[in-house]
Amino acid sequence: MSLEKAIPVKINGVPHELLARANETLLDCLRQHGQFEVKNGCEKGDCGACAVQIEGEAVDSCLTLTWTVEGRSITTLEGLNDTNKPHPLIAAFMEQGAVQCGYCTPGIIVAAEEMLRETLNPTDDDIALALSGNLCRCTGYTKIFAAIRQAATVLREGGGND
C-alpha cells in the first residue's frame, strides 16, 4: 500500500489537510473528514449522490482522486448553507416537497447550484441537462424541477444570502 500524503485543500472555505493514499478518492476522504452529506451511491460516477463542487464546478467525488485536488477549493452541500438563512435552493427543496428519501438531495442541490450561477432563467431543458448525472428513484424529478424554478425566481429577485 502506498504512503499517505497530506493534501492541503479548502473545504467549504476552511483550510484543511486531507490524508490520502494515491488511489484514494475524494469521496472517501471527505467522508472520513466528517462530511457525511457527501453520499456514496455507486462509486462509478453513474448516480451523482457524491457530487461536490471543485472551484465551483460540480464533479463526482467518487471519480476524483484526492491527490489531484491539492490546493483547490471544495464545496459540499454544507458549504452552500453556512449562514443562518437557508440557501434559496435548500429552502425551495423543503417547501416544494422535493425531498423524499433524501439520499440524492445533496448531490442534486450541488449540481443545481452550479447551473443557477450560469443562468437564473433556466428552461426545463437546462434543468434536465444539469441534473442528467444525478439519479433520483423516489420523486420522479417533478418537484425537484419545481424547487429549482422557485429558487431561480428567488435569486432573480435578489433573495438569498449574498
Binding site: M1, F36, E37, K39, N40, G41, C42, E43, K44, D46, C47, A49, T76, L77, E78, N81, P86, I90, F93, M94, E95, Q96, G97, A98, V99, Q100, C101, G102, Y103, C104, T105, P106, I109, I127, A128, L129, L131, S132, N134, L135, C136, R137, C138, T139, G140, Y141, T142, K143, I144, F145
Partner: protein, 788 residues
C-alpha cells in the same frame, strides 16, 4: 398498556387543522441541509470493516475454500466460512408478529457445499480498514465446480430438470375458483387469448445496504442499519441461536427501499462478525453488492383467456400465472397470492378460474418489490382489456366502464369491498387531464393509454397484523411520539407527526418522533405492503385520541365546563362557545403532572383478522381493503427507430383522505417514473444465472432527461380504513403506470409488444411483422379482384 377504544368519540376537530394540508415534512430540513444521518454515516471507535465474498457462478459445488492467507494478513480480525458457523439457517419468510409458525423457506447463511445463485455468499471478512478487507477478499482461495443449473421456468418443470427446491421446483401455488367458467365461455360471443411477459427488475434505491453492529455490555447485539423491517431482529436471533431480546435493530432514515430492504440484507453478516470479533463492525455494500445481494422483481408469464359478449360484458376469465422465484423461496408464495387475487383487475366477473405458481430456478431469488405481484398482474389484465376492445370493436374506455366493480361489490375471492370504488371517476379525470392531443408528423405517431387497477393496502389478513405506538405530552406541552415505523422516504414519520398534532391541537413543530428502534420504540411492524400509514397512523391516532380525551376531561374540570364543550387547538384547551375561556396546553400539562395525570398512552391497532382462504377455491377475505385509481399517458413513437417517449403522464387515485397532499403527489410522481422505467428501459439480464448488468451504466433507470409532464389528481372518498378515512398510495401509484404506457404504445403503432420492457428493438420488430402481415392481408384481399 391500555387497550381500549378512545375515551371520547368526539373526532379531533370538525375542521381539520393539520390533516389534509401540504405541510413541509418534518424530515425535509435535515435532509435538504445534509444534516440527516443515514445508517452509513455512523461510526464508532475501534470500528472494523466488513466484506462479503460472493460466488461467481449460479449453480456449482464448493470443492474447497482456504482462507489461511487472508487470515494471516495483518489487520484481518476474522474470516468466517460455513465451517465456523453453527449448523443454522436464516429465515426468508416475512416477519411474523403473532408467534405463527413461519414457512419452511430458510436458506443457508454461507455456502456449505452447493451454490444456488450468482452472488451467494461464501465468506465474511472483518478487517481494520476497507482496503485490508478488500485485500483479504482477494486472498481467499477456493475452487468451485460448475453444476448443471436451470435458468428458465419451463426447463425447471421439465422431467429431468435439476431440482433447486424440493420436491419439484414449485415453491408456491394458488387457485381461485368462482362461478363456472365453462358456462361463462359458452355465453360469450368472443373468446380472446393472449400471453404477456414481464422481466426481472432492480429496486435501485440510491443508498446501498449498509449497517454498523456492536455487542454491548449486556451481550446485546446492536445493529444500526438501513432497513424497512427492524423486526427481523427475531430472525437474526434465531439464526445466531440467542434469545430474541439479545438482538436489537435500530434504523435510521432509509435512502430508499421499494421492497428491496424488506428481506434480511446486511444485518445477519454484521451480527456474525460483531459476535466473532467483539468489536464494532461496519458493512457497506458496494453498488455491485447491492445488485447481487437482494431479491429482484419476479418475471412473470401471464396468460389470459377472456369470454366477452358482443356488448362488451365479460362472462368468463381464465388466468394462468407463472413466475420465476429464483434460487430461494423468500416472499414468492405471497407475491403469487397477490398476483392471483389481483388477476381479474377492478372488474366484476362472475366466472373466474385462476392458477398461479412460483417456480424455482438458479436465477437470482425474487421477492418484494413495490406492487408485489399485483403490478405484474395489472400489466396483463389492462393490456388484455385493450386487446378485447380492439378485437370486438368497442371503445376501450367504454369496455372498462361496462365491467368495473362498483362500490359494494365483491372481489373474485368473494370479499366485499367496504370502501368506495371510484375507478370510473378516476379514469374520467385522468383522461380529461391529458388535454389536447399532441401533434406529430411521420414517422412519429402519438398514442394514448390508460390502466386502472385494484391494489391492496395492509397485510394479508390471516397474518394478523398489529402496530403499536406511544404518545406522550411533556410538562411544557410539547409532544413525543414513539413508533417502531421505518421511514423509507415516503414521509412515514412526518405523517405520524401530523396525526398526533391534529389530535392534540398542537403544531407540527411541537411534535418529535422517535422511530425504528426495536428495543425502545413500540413495535409497529414493517414499512411494506402500503401498510405504514394505515397501521402506524391508526396506532398513533388511537393513542393520541385517548390522550386527547384525558386532557379534555382535565381541562373541563379546570375551566369549569363539561368535557364536550372543550376543544384542543393552537396549543390551547378552550371552550368552543367562548374561546376566551382557555388554558394553554403548557399550563394544562404542568398542572396535570402535579396532579398525577397520566400524560402518555401506549396503544395497539389491529387490522381485521381472518382465517386463511380456502385452498381449493381461494374464496374468502384476503386483505383489509383496496385502493382504486387510474393512470393515463400519452406517448410518441418513432416508427423508424422504435423509440418511445412518454409525453404526458397522469395519475388519478382515490386515496380516501390525503394526510399530506404534497407527500401523496410525491408518491404518484415517483411511481410514474418508476413505472416508466419498468415499461421502457429497465431489465436485469441473467445469462446462465449470472447477472451481466450490475451497474447503473448498464441498468437504465429514468433520469431527469426522461421526465414527462406529470400530473397528479387526488380524489378523497374518505372511505378507507386508515386514519381519517385514508387508503394507501405507495404501491398503487406505481402499479398502473407500465400497462398504461404499453397500451399507449399499442395505440400509437396499431400492434402490441407483449413483453416488457418495450425497447426500440421490440417496437421495430413488431412493426415490421405487422407490416408483413398487413402486406399479406392486402395481397389476399386483392387476389379475388385480380381473378375477376
Amino acid at each position: 398498556m391500555t387497550d381500549q377504544t378512545p375515551h371520547r368519540q368526539t373526532e379531533a376537530n370538525v375542521v381539520l387543522r393539520q390533516i389534509g394540508k401540504p405541510l413541509e415534512r418534518s424530515d425535509a430540513e435535515g435532509k435538504a441541509t445534509g444534516r440527516t444521518r443515514y445508517a452509513g454515516d455512523y461510526t464508532m471507535p475501534s470500528m472494523l470493516h466488513g466484506r462479503v465474498l460472493r460466488s461467481e457462478l449460479a449453480s456449482a459445488r464448493l470443492k474447497h475454500l482456504d482462507a489461511s492467507a487472508a487470515r494471516n494478513l495483518p489487520g484481518v480480525l476474522c474470516v468466517l466460512t460455513a465451517d465456523e458457523l453453527p449448523d443454522r439457517l436464516a429465515a426468508t419468510d416475512i416477519p411474523g408478529q403473532t408467534g405463527q409458525k413461519r414457512a419452511s423457506t430458510d436458506r443457508q447463511i454461507l455456502v456449505r457445499e452447493f451454490i444456488r445463485h450468482h452472488g451467494e455468499p461464501l465468506a465474511l471478512i472483518a478487517a481494520e480498514t476497507p482496503a485490508i478487507a478488500e485485500k483479504a477478499h482477494d486472498l481467499i482461495e477456493y475452487e468451485i465446480e460448475p453444476l448443471p443449473g436451470v435458468y428458465d421456468i419451463d426447463s425447471a418443470l421439465g422431467p429431468d430438470a435439476p431440482i433447486v427446491t424440493e420436491p419439484d421446483n414449485i415453491v408456491g401455488q394458488h387457485k381461485i375458483r368462482k362461478g363456472n367458467v365453462d358456462k361463462g365461455f359458452a355465453e360469450a360471443d368472443h373468446i380472446i387469448e393472449n400471453t404477456f411477459k414481464t422481466q426481472f427488475i432492480e429496486h435501485a434505491f440510491l443508498e446501498p445496504e449498509v449497517g454498523l453492529a456492536w455487542v454491548d455490555e449486556n451481550g446485546v447485539i446492536n445493529i444500526r442499519m438501513s432497513t424497512q423491517v427492524i423486526e427481523h431482529f427475531r430472525f437474526i436471533a434465531d439464526a445466531l441461536g440467542v434469545p430474541h431480546n439479545k438482538v436489537r435493530i435500530l434504523g435510521a432514515m432509509v435512502g430508499g427501499g421499494f421492497g428491496g430492504k424488506e428481506d434480511i440484507t446486511v444485518e445477519l453478516y454484521l451480527a456474525l462478525l460483531a459476535q466473532a470479533t467483539r468489536r464494532p463492525v461496519r458493512l457497506a455494500y458496494t453498488r455491485e453488492d447491492s445488485f447481487l445481494g437482494h431479491g429482484k422483481r419476479h418475471p412473470f408469464v401471464i396468460s389470459h383467456k377472456t369470454g366477452v359478449t358482443k356488448q362488451g360484458k365479460i362472462t368468463a376469465l381464465e388466468v394462468n400465472i407463472r413466475a420465476d422465484s429464483g434460487a430461494y423461496v423468500f416472499l414468492s408464495p405471497y407475491v403469487l397470492l397477490y398476483s392471483a387475487v389481483a388477476a381479474p383487475g377492478p372488474y366484476r366477473i362472475d366466472n373466474v378460474k385462476i392458477d398461479s405458481a412460483a417456480i424455482a430456478t438458479n436465477n437470482m431469488y425474487t421477492s418484494a418489490f413495490r406492487g408485489f405481484g399485483a403490478a405484474q398482474a395489472c400489466v396483463a389484465y389492462e393490456a388484455q382489456m385493450d386487446e378485447i376492445a380492439k378485437a370486438i370493436g368497442i371503445d376501450r374506455f367504454e369496455l372498462r366502464r361496462r365491467n368495473f366493480m362498483r362500490t359494494g361489490d365483491k372481489t373474485a375471492t368473494g370479499q366485499t369491498v367496504e370502501s368506495a370504488i371510484w375507478s370510473d371517476e378516476c379514469m374520467t379525470r385522468a383522461l380529461e387531464a391529458l388535454g389536447e392531443e399532441t401533434k406529430a408528423e411521420e414517422p412519429v405517431k402519438i398514442g394514448r393509454g390508460v390502466a386502472t387497477y385494484q391494489q391492496s393496502y395492509g397485510r394479508i389478513t390471516w397474518l394478523h397484523d398489529t402496530a403499536e405506538a406511544w404518545v406522550g405530552i411533556e410538562i411544557d406541552g410539547t409532544v413525543i411520539v414513539r413508533s417502531g415505523v421505518t421511514d423509507i422516504g415516503g414521509g412515514q414519520v412526518s405523517a405520524l407527526s401530523q396525526i398526533a398534532a391534529e389530535s392534540l391541537g398542537v403544531g407540527l413543530e411541537d411534535v418529535i418522533i422517535y422511530h425504528s428502534d426495536s428495543a425502545v420504540t413500540p413495535l409497529a411492524g414493517t414499512t411494506t405492503a402500503t401498510r405504514a400509514l394505515y397501521m402506524t397512523g391508526n396506532a398513533v391516532h388511537k393513542a393520541s385520541s385517548i390522550l386527547r380525551g384525558r386532557m379534555i376531561d382535565f381541562a373541563a374540570n379546570e375551566l369549569d365546563v363539561q368535557p364536550d364543550e372543550v376543544d384542543l387547538a393552537n396549543g390551547q384547551a378552550f371552550v368552543v362557545d367562548d374561546p376566551s375561556n382557555f388554558i394553554s396546553l403548557t399550563d394544562l400539562a404542568a398542572r396535570g403532572a402535579s396532579e398525577g395525570l397520566q400524560r402518555s398512552e401506549l396503544a395497539m391497532f389491529r387490522a381485521p383478522f381472518t382465517d386463511p382462504i380456502d385452498k381449493e377455491t381461494g374464496q374468502g377475505p384476503v386483505f383489509p381493503d383496496f385502493t382504486y385509481g387510474c393512470h393515463a399517458v400519452e406517448v410518441s413513437v418513432d416508427t423508424e427507430t422504435g423509440e418511445v417517449t412518454v409525453l404526458k403522464s397522469v395519475g388519478a387515485h382515490d386515496i380516501g383522505q390525503a394526510i399530506n397532499p404534497q407527500a401523496v403527489e410525491g408518491q404518484i410522481e415517483g411511481g410514474a417514473l418508476m413505472g416508466q422505467g419498468y415499461a421502457l428501459s429497465e431489465e436485469l439480464i441473467y445469462q446462465e444465472g449470472k447477472l451481466v448488468s450490475p451497474s447503473f451504466s448498464e441498468y437504465l433507470i429514468p433520469t431527469s432527461m426522461d421526465m414527462p409532464e406529470i400530473k397528479t389528481i387526488i380524489l378523497e372518498s374518505r372511505s378507507g380504513l386508515g386514519p381519517f378515512g385514508a387508503k394507501g398510495i405507495g404501491e398503487p401509484s406505481f402499479t398502473p403506470v407500465a400497462p398504461a404506457i404499453a397500451n399507449a404504445v399499442a395505440d400509437a403503432i396499431g400492434t402490441r409488444v407483449f413483453e416488457l420492457p418495450i425497447t426500440p428493438e421490440k417496437v421495430v420488430k413488431v412493426l415490421s411483422q405487422s407490416q408483413t402481415n398487413g402486406d399479406l392481408e392486402q395481397k389476399l384481399n386483392k387476389t379475388p379482384l385480380l381473378e375477376d
